[in-house]
C-alpha cells in the first residue's frame, strides 16, 4: 500500500474537522485545529520520504554516499510546527478572554455581540 501514508494524512485532517464542527468547548476546538494541522506534517513527511534514505545532514556522512530524504519538505514541516505552536497559543489566549468576558467556553452560547 504505497498510498497509505497519504490517506492517513487525509484521515487525520478529516478527524480534526469533525472535532471542530461538533466541539462544545473552545479549548477542545483549538486542540482539534492542532490535529487538523498535524495532518500536514504527516503529508509533508510522507511526500519527502525515500526508502533507505537518511537525514539530509552531511556533518557525518559523505555527500553522495547514501540517499537522503527530501530536505525541502522537512524545512516546510519545521516552519509549520513553529507557526502552529504560536498560533495555538494565541487562540488559547483568546479562549481565556472569552471565558472571562462571557463566562462560557461553549461556542453555541456565544451568539450575542458585546462591546
Amino acid at each position: 500500500m504505497s498510498v497509505l501514508p497519504y490517506l492517513a494524512a487525509g484521515w487525520i485532517f478529516l478527524v480534526g474537522c469533525y472535532g471542530l464542527a461538533t466541539s462544545r468547548n473552545l479549548i477542545h476546538a483549538v486542540g482539534c485545529l492542532s490535529v487538523c494541522q498535524s495532518s500536514t506534517y504527516v503529508l509533508l513527511l510522507a511526500v519527502g520520504y525515500r526508502r533507505g534514505g537518511t537525514a539530509p545532514v552531511f556533518a557525518d556522512i559523505t555527500p553522495g554516499s547514501r540517499p537522503v530524504v527530501d530536505p525541502v519538505v522537512q524545512a516546510l514541516a519545521l516552519t509549520d510546527v513553529v507557526v502552529g505552536a504560536t498560533v495555538t497559543a494565541l487562540l488559547l489566549a483568546l479562549v481565556i478572554q472569552t471565558a472571562k468576558r462571557h463566562g462560557t467556553v461553549d461556542p453555541d452560547e456565544l451568539s450575542e455581540l458585546r462591546g
Binding site: G10, R50, F58, A59, D70, L78, V82, K100, R101, G103
Partner: protein, 257 residues
Amino acid sequence: MSRKARLWLLAVGGIGVAVLLACAAFDLPGFGGTWHPYGERAVRSALSRHTANVISSVNFDQRAFDTLGEESILFGAVLGTVVLLRETRDEHSEPPETAQVDPPVRRYALIALPVTLLIGLYVIAHGQLSPGGGFQGGVIVATALHLLYVAIDYKALERIRPAAAYAFADAAGEAAYVLLGTAGLLAGSAFLANFLPYGTFNTLSSGGTVPLLNAAIGVEVAGAVVVLLARFLDQALEIEDGGAGGTGRQDEEANRS
C-alpha cells in the same frame, strides 16, 4: 442551524473532501520513491554553499525570505497573546504562595537545568551542521529556564526572568534578521543574499550568513516562548478576579442594574 442539520452538512462536505483527497493521493508519486527533483537540487545547492545541514540551508539561505514571513507570524502571534493576556482594570495580581517541592524533584530539576540550557545553546550554535537550529534550540533554552519553577517556585523563576527583557530579545531577534537581510543589499546584491565567505565545510563558521540568521531566530524563539509561558503562568498563578469569584461579565451586569 440545528445540531442534526449541521452534522449532515459536515458529513456531505467531509465525504466530498475525502473523495478528493483519495483521488489526489493515488495521483501522487509513490511513497518512498526516488524521484525528488527539488530535494536533489536543494542538496546540491546546500553543498555548494558549504552548509552541512541541508534543512538549515533551505530555511536560512534558499528560502530565507519565507522564513522572515514565518518569523513575523511568530512575532505577531506572541504580540497578540501578550495584548490579550494583560491584566485588565477589574483584575489584580497577587503573589503566589511558596510551594513545598519534594527534595528528589528539586535535586533532579536543578541538575537538569544547566545541562538542558547547554544543550539548547549547542543546538542553536550547531544549526548549520547537525540536526536542529534556532527554532528547536530556542524552545529548549526557554523551557530549560522553567525547570526553576519545577525545582523551587514561581518567585525564583520570576527573579531570573524579567519578562520585559525577553520581550525585548524577541523583538531584537526579529530586527536582527531584517538587518542581516538589509546587509545583503548594502553589500551590493539582493535582500537576504549571502555576503560572507562560505568558510570551510563542516566547521562552526561555515555557511556564510546561515549561522547568523540561525542565531537571530534562536534569540527570537527563546524570547517568544519565555514571554508566552510568562503570560500564561501569570494568568494561572497571579491574576485574580476583581470581585469574590465574579467574572467580568457578572461585574458588568451588576453595574448595569
